[in-house]
Symmetry: C2
Subunit: 328 residues, 2 copies
DNA sequence: GTGAAAGCGCTAACAG
DNA sequence: CTGTTAGCGCTTTCAC
């Protein structure tokens, strides 16, 4: 591994000049800069991040604290964050919590001082713990809104509401909602929104779950949902809906003839030809990008913390939503 | 952030003693050890990994180079690796390559010297590049076998072969295989195995794809597969099979009456009640654990590189596989 | 068994 | 604009 000193020698300058050339090119004479760059390229020089961290106090790492890597939504968020981070030569450290608050707390504790900031995806910690964490390191939250903490969310409650309204117009009377992870802030918001809508339209909202948002859980819930007599069901995410559809298929329940369906995210359905399933288009990658950018801005220490944002979701009502089957 | 010096002061010893107490407890008198530990706990001391990296040359980071976070198989591998790593107080850095060799090469280049080792999941680089990388840093490969590089794979070709054999016994004559990512080593192995089997049994193997292993691609491929007249189809992974099943469901194609199906991994189907789909149980978490352990052993520098392993896959033939429909 | 001192590779004043 | 100097927080000889 070539070091600063090696490059300096090769370029005939001092180590500090090399350092400056790399991190503040405008402070170096053009001619020198060029020589240094040539030498650095020649030797394949890459600054040792540990050494840099020691002097600057910035580690060049961002922590992504994620409940579950099987859920493609988080995959999207992480991809987005990674792209944003690598542009600034920052790396992503990943911690899987299985949605357990104690593991979230452990990540916050163990990684404090080792990263320049934390992106917590759908955190389950208390608001108090989250705001407390913010005092020790830059923190942003994705898929939950926490007062006092920069948060990035998608407006899935709003999107679901639109689907719900449409179901009402179509003449549905009983609409199911298969709820997501217990303790999920976002799930609570969606339910609250749907209840409100149901009340206004005089529809019955049937709530199922909460369940872990996985294919198997969706499949397992199908039974109860069908038995309940719902003519439509909204699922917390696309994995759950996939599970439902799988079981519906096995039992010969036709979509949307016998049952209308929709999901609060489109991760599994993205790029499907002909959009056969109504699902909210959720900007997962964009959420990740914003989270990383916000964290880096905070670590940059350029003043106030970045504003929270709720990104709109897109709904395209498609063939999976239709009028209810004739009353039995 | 409490430092070594703070703990030393609190415990009434020198910084070196604290350092030893933390990393080589046996070199410290029991009584001293206890005092130091108490002080460290009291102050919430955590060694600064950057400083440690600088002196020891070990960074405490492992790179996970992964093609695609939407694929739950990689989620499993990463979870396993993370658990193994955190036990030794090592962190995971993640890089998403989208299955592009140049991004793989970039990760190897940019992270060299910044991590203690690389776990490459389903890498697409040439064998030459991979073996070359091994000279610069510890490298292990998951889901591919590379001569001279410690590799961890699951015997999915063998598992698929068993399913294929069973289809033969059941009287199938035309079996489809929906192939995975172009350039995938593992996919080539599976095809080779299936071709061999087909030859021996006098079955026709119909190959579809290769396609990106995602739900949408499975759905898109359903058309062609049905049209081909296959009575059974094996899919590169469970995401693809889900896509197929989704389309089959829409068209009223019944499984297994009209079509037998199976997938080469069970990630999406894990924990499904009643195992309605034949899929190989792939030890993803275990693969990740082994990869991390091997890397840490290599970084430990305790001599020879760890041996490669192919882990067995489990097949339980279930209701999604049956005799072919009567010839039309 | 413990302390003093040197130094890992870099950045950041501070002179010049 | 560039070089010199002093650490960042640890680990590690080397004495004691």
């Amino acid at each position: 591994m070539a070091g600063l000193e090696d490059v300096a020698r090769a370029a005939g300058v001092s180590a500090s000049t090399v350092s400056r050339a790399m991190s503040r090119p405008d402070m170096v004479a053009p001619a020198t800069l060029e020589r240094v760059r040539a030498a650095a390229a020649e030797l394949g020089f890459r600054a040792n991040p540990a050494a840099r961290a020691l002097t600057t106090g910035r580690t060049g790492y961002l922590a992504m604290v994620v409940p579950d890597l099987h859920n493609p939504f988080y995959g999207g968020v992480i991809s987005g964050a990674q792209r944003a981070a690598e542009r600034r030569d920052v790396r992503l450290v990943i911690t899987v919590t299985d949605g357990r608050p104690e593991r979230e707390a452990a990540a916050l504790r163990d990684l404090a001082g080792q990263v320049d900031g934390f992106a917590l995806l759908s955190p389950v910690s208390t608001t108090a713990d989250l705001t407390a964490a913010r005092r020790r390191a830059p923190v942003v939250v994705v898929n939950r809104r926490v007062p006092g903490v920069t948060s990035f969310t998608a407006d899935t409650p709003g999107g679901l509401a639109r689907i719900f309204d449409r179901l009402g117009e179509l003449g549905h009377t009983d609409v199911g909602y298969l709820a997501g992870p217990p303790g999920s802030w976002m799930d609570r918001r969606r339910r609250a929104e749907l209840r409100d809508r149901a009340g206004r339209h005089g529809l019955r909202l049937r709530e199922f779950g909460p369940v872990r948002p996985a294919f198997a859980e969706g499949a397992a819930a199908a039974d109860e949902i069908v038995a309940s007599g719902c003519g439509a069901v909204l699922a917390y995410n696309s994995l759950l809906l996939l599970g439902l559809l799988f079981e519906f298929g096995r039992w010969g329940i036709r979509v949307p003839t016998d049952m209308s369906v929709a999901a609060a995210d489109d991760m599994a359905f993205a790029d499907l030809p002909g959009q056969p399933v109504t699902a909210l288009r959720v900007p997962a990658v964009e959420l990740g990008r914003r989270a990383a950018d916000a964290l880096l801005a905070m670590a940059g220490g350029t003043g106030r913390r970045p504003a929270s944002r709720t990104l709109p979701t897109e709904v395209t009502l498609t063939g999976s939503v239709a009028a209810p089957p004739a009353r039995r």
